[in-house]
């Protein structure tokens, strides 16, 4: 009887979708303005709590580095927290912390951002400091040398000693050849050694100015008052020239690529990846749906077929970022017991992808994936920090206003889109596989020592 009731419940949820577009309306009050020097400001007021997230995003990241000097965007971001000036970075962090707020920075391939979250009535502290950060960079040689050492150590721990991260680094290096996603955002080990303080200053001068940045503010502020304050601070900075951008594209892949790693470990690891477009293609929404169909929740295809029924893998997940600035990868990561053969694991994963091409999801399965994506969109944007970051990521990838298309576009994906997009991108020709397995045990003679 209960089973019948749960079927009825599912059917009701399917037949009568919610009246409110819960996720679609979350950003409907966002707006933008430009300061006199052209600096773009994206705003979303939310007066639920007396806090603000003030974020400055620079349109520069590891993708703007050059061969031999990788890791520079990250190093510049790190040096920003060692800067001196009317208010030193350390004083700023101390001030923010005393107010119970937090200040952080991140450099990815596509962007560098500085994110300050603090009490609404102290937003001026963040505005003044971030404007200073955009105006000038004063750093000491000693601090640079120390930070360089720290970054190299951190790289060893986070990547070299981490089997999963190391495999991903190798996979990206194989999948992208001339494109800048080829190198890690943290930089290659040898390149880090080569970086100089002059490199940091030159990179800063080239990219840190209003023409190459934008501001995002979310939370408890008043638009008119905010813009007046921004005009007095950021508005006084010379606009600078937009940094030149080069779209470097690899030629189409001609066949499967393999990055094979032998290193000690308790389990085998695999990443299977295909080149795919970002949100500038409408196929990106079908790829989002495919990600959910394959790996979201314990009723997903991967969990059901490869863990629960097949016991092929220990864990498995799918990754796709539709807001990458340039086309990226759709990847599937798995770990498996050493007694499993990697080629069998790869076949089991690829068979699932093949199935999408020939066997489109049922209306119920498709609806389930869409519901998951919509709910996740709501849950992940619960805080003003994540709302600001989401607006910024869309701005970097295309235009922040395109965020409003997410929920409607997900809803418009059909089962035929899923099959079509799977057939278009998940091909052997477009495939890169990374495999990490332990080295074989040493050969013994069979005699006791």
């Amino acid at each position: 009887m209960k089973a019948v009731r749960i079927f009825v419940l599912l059917a009701m949820l399917f037949l009568f979708p919610p009246f409110s577009l819960a996720g679609a309306v979350m950003f409907e009050n966002a707006s933008e303005a430009r300061l006199a020097n052209g600096l773009k400001v994206i705003m979303l007021e939310n007066h639920q709590a007396p806090i603000v997230s003030f974020q400055v995003w620079y349109r520069v990241g590891a993708a703007d580095e050059t061969t031999g000097k990788t890791g520079l965007a990250n190093m510049v971001e790190r040096m920003m927290f060692k800067s001196l000036g009317p208010m030193s970075a350390q004083e700023f962090i101390q001030t923010i912390r005393r107010m119970g707020g937090k200040a952080s920075g991140t450099a990815s391939h596509d962007y560098t951002c500085y994110c300050d979250t603090l009490a609404a009535n102290r937003i001026g502290v963040a505005i003044d400091f971030e404007a200073q950060r955009m105006r000038s960079l004063t750093v000491r040689d000693r601090d640079f040398r120390l930070e360089k050492m720290v970054v190299r150590q951190e790289r060893r721990m986070r990547i070299d000693d981490n089997p999963k991260s190391y495999l991903l680094e190798q996979l990206y290096a194989a999948a992208f050849q001339s494109e800048p996603y080829h190198w890690p955002a943290m930089g290659w080990t040898d390149d880090l050694r080569r970086l100089t303080i002059a490199d940091v200053r030159a990179f800063y001068s080239k990219y840190y100015h209003p023409a190459n940045a934008f501001i995002v503010v979310t939370g408890d502020f008043e638009r008119k008052e905010l813009l007046a304050r921004l005009e007095q601070t950021f508005g006084k900075i010379a606009p600078g020239e937009p940094a030149p951008t080069f779209l470097i594209e690899d030629p189409p892949q001609q066949g499967e690529r393999i990055a094979s790693i032998r290193r000690p470990g308790q389990v085998g690891r695999m990443v299977v990846a295909w080149h795919v477009p970002n949100l500038q293609s409408t196929d990106s929404y079908a790829l989002e749906v495919i990600k959910a169909l394959l790996a979201s929740g314990k009723s997903s295809r991967f969990y059901d077929d490869l863990i629960r029924q097949g016991a092929e893998v220990l864990e498995i997940s799918a990754h796709y970022d539709l807001t990458s600035k340039n086309p990226g990868l759709f990847s599937i990561s798995a770990s498996f017991l050493q007694e499993k053969k990697p080629e069998e694991v790869q076949k089991a994963i690829c068979d699932e992808l093949e199935l999408l091409k020939t066997n489109p999801p049922s209306p119920m399965e498709l609806k389930k994936a869409k519901n998951q994506l919509e709910a996740s969109f709501v849950f992940k944007n619960e805080s003003i920090i994540s709302m600001a970051s989401k607006l910024a990521e869309y701005e970097i990838a295309f235009d922040w206003t395109s965020i409003s298309a997410y929920i409607p576009s997900i809803r418009s994906v059909t089962a035929q889109d899923v099959s079509r997009v799977a057939a278009k991108y998940f091909t052997e020709q477009n495939l890169t596989v990374g495999v990490a397995t332990p080295p074989p045990p040493p050969v013994t003679t069979g005699e006791n020592p």
Partner: protein, 459 residues
């Protein structure tokens, strides 16, 4: 029984937090209800997004694992959703996924938490499923076996993670002879041996409403909870909870361990026993932890070991307080060759706190951060719900949030020094996971390596 009437009578308290400072409006009011089955229910409203969070805390943590059955509490908690009296695994997960709901389980040493986040439109369906999972699990044999395999697989994956290896060795050494010594998830041998009947017995003993706290927060009103959710919770029956005495660990001469692993960066962990959660030393220890190792560049460890000596690229400290005891550990990452030197520097800083009072400026800064950051830290409904449930479990009282700034601000330099004298000694547990030959060959100014007990990770 007329449920609606009884619920109205039972609604006991509603209050507003009295935090001072700029964030005072940020903390929502909380209503507490105790249901006829003695389930404690806390409700708060936050209508900023159309979702509702459920956080159920049950006093059924791994400290209750019987000897040689380590991992039983964890396996029980993770097996609840494998099937219930009315629904199969597939039905449960199809329904959860169709709603886009999140469902999570965490087993800690003292308690288990089960949480769900669901869109408002699906709230009542979600609550129905949530209560079914908690109240009527059946622990299907095949599914439990598979869950065991999953846990065993994860134990295998963890062996590649130096931090997890260090944490397990540290707890085992620090809490020797106490149930806190074993990993929450158990070991390969104990997990393999657990059977379905043992899950049943554990569940029947501890999964009772009179041993639980449920927090419901988000886009929901107390009226909705009373009329539409409470009725779904009343079928869960109270029973006396077995009183088990948990052996409290005692300080003793503790080991220093090197775990030989071929990594280029060593993980160093140093620490000692610490205060229980509801003990009088909790707040001084919290402030002490902030001063020593909050993780940012202004913390004492980062200044002395990272900035001044350049030995480690990151140094943090962590205080974990439980019902009967607690642990304090400093975690740092450094080159293998600097590991022993780094451990020595940490020890020196711990000893310094015993003899030198902290500076007023450092104390003030730590207090300002802890009080000011509190509302921001708990601004997400899920985090706040977890915090409320834990405060209730540890008997800190509903007015704990209001008292929190007062308790922090009352800590004096003498309190910090007294705490350091009480807990820090020269007998700290030291665990280093790194490349042994690199450590011994190149360490500078550190203790001789033979002081350490060398082990290799289990295959």
């Amino acid at each position: 029984m007329n449920i609606k009437k009884s619920s109205i009578v039972i609604v006991a308290t509603a209050f507003f937090f009295l935090l001072t400072g700029s964030f005072c409006r940020a903390m929502p009011a909380v209503t507490k209800v105790e249901l006829p089955n003695h389930l404690k229910l806390l409700i708060f409203e936050d209508h900023s997004i159309p979702s509702v969070t459920l956080e159920l805390l049950i006093g059924a943590g791994s400290a209750l694992d019987p000897p040689s059955m380590e991992g039983l509490a964890n396996l029980t908690a993770h097996s609840l959703s494998l099937g219930t009296k009315h629904f199969t695994f597939d039905q449960i997960n199809n329904t959860l996924d169709f709603m886009g709901a999140t469902y999570g389980v965490e087993c800690t040493r003292d308690f288990v938490t089960i949480d769900m986040q669901v869109l408002k439109k699906d709230l009542f369906a979600g609550v129905g499923l949530f209560s079914e999972i908690v109240e009527r699990p059946v622990f299907p044999n095949d599914d439990v076996s598979q869950k065991k395999d999953e846990i065993l697989g994860r134990l295998q994956v963890d062996k590649d993670n130096p931090l997890r290896i260090a944490n397990a060795a540290f707890d085992e050494a620090l809490f020797r002879g106490s149930p806190y010594a074993a990993p929450v998830q158990g070991g390969e041998k104990s997990v393999t041996a657990i059977n379905r009947m043992q899950l049943w017995a554990f569940y029947n003993s501890f999964y009772r409403p009179n041993n639980a706290v449920l927090v419901i927060g988000g886009d929901v009103t107390p009226e909705e909870v009373k009329t539409r959710i409470v009725p779904k919770l009343l079928g869960w029956h109270a029973r006396p909870i077995p009183k088990l005495s948990i052996k409290t660990p005692v300080a003793r001469r503790t080991p220093q361990i090197i775990i030989d692993k071929p990594v280029s960066q060593a993980t160093v962990m140093i620490g000692c026993l610490a205060t229980p959660r509801s003990g009088p030393d909790y707040f001084p220890f919290l402030v002490l932890n902030q001063i020593l190792g909050s993780g940012d560049l202004s913390s004492r460890f980062m200044k002395e070991i990272h900035t001044n000596k350049g030995v480690a690229f990151t140094v943090k400290s962590r205080l974990d307080s439980y019902n009967n005891s607690g642990s304090f550990r400093i975690i740092l990452h450094t080159r293998d060759s600097s590991a022993i030197q780094a451990a020595t520097l940490v020890e020196k800083q711990l000893q310094r706190l015993r003899v030198q009072p902290v500076l007023d400026a450092d104390l003030k800064s730590a207090k300002e951060f802890l009080t000011g950051n509190f509302p921001l830290k708990y601004s997400l409904a899920g985090n706040f719900a977890k915090f409320l449930a834990e405060a209730q479990f540890y008997g800190l009282g509903l007015d704990f949030v209001g008292h929190y700034p007062t308790m922090i601000n009352a800590v004096t330099p003498d309190d910090i020094q007294r705490t350091a004298l009480k807990y820090f000694s020269s007998d700290n547990v030291v665990v280093i996971v790194g490349d042994f030959k690199e450590m011994v060959g190149k360490g500078e100014n550190g203790p001789e390596a033979p002081l350490f007990e060398k082990t290799t990770p289990a295959p």
